[in-house]
Amino acid sequence: MGIGATHIDHIVISSNDSGTVAQTFADNLGIEIKRKMIRPGTSAQLAFAKLQEVVLEFAGPPQVTPGEEVKAKLWGMVLAVEDIDAAVAHLRELGYPVSDPRPAVQPGARIASVKDGTSGVPFAVIQYNAIPAEAS
């Protein structure tokens, strides 16, 4: 019994300037930035690229400080699961601190964060098609 993960859904690279970091990856590695957005609520600047089934998410603060050295780090990952409620229940049964599933940025998806016990890897689980279209 596990969490029913099917694949790594996305990997997050956090920085103080997500636009510059995303552009460096695009220019040097031929990665196409497919989407940019501002996260509702936090106003974080996000940019997304997709390499086959895995999304690279570049995340940064709303404002960039001019002249500041751009620093990035590999942050954490989100695992796609078949049933997020079952995954959360399973993890809580094992004693993991897990947030309640909430609507994700991705339309129709729900996401929950696992806050500890993952060998230092910030990670979350996400289920697509978890919210009916008319409700998302």
């Binding site: 990997i11 920085s15 040097n28 590695l29 031929g30 390499l51």
Partner: protein, 129 residues
Amino acid sequence: MKATRIDHVGIVVKDIDAALATYAGNFGFTADSKRGGELPALGIKNAFMPVGESDLEFIQPTSSEGPVAQFAAERGEGTFMLSLEVEDIDAAVEHLRAAGARVGNASNGVAFVSMKSTHGVNLQLVQRQ
């Protein structure tokens, strides 16, 4: 030059057996018994767990020297490295150098990009075929 796939995510851990037990027993992943082991030349031991088309690589330092030991000393456990698959490792290295990036020589289909050229992200390129 184009990165085509996330090959694996490297995760530095203090105790690889404990990490594997957690990720197998609690999360439901299965270690690939055909890969991984002790790599004295690198001062590490490692193990792989496939997740979809990518892998999680768990890396435990066995020496006090090297980038893995340094990461462990400074940050403890955590996400250490991103490995991207490329079609032609030599062409990728040449392309990156032409673009001004600092890249190590390719060896056995693997090359490391200097963190100074990635804004601090530890990046590996790998050619699988």
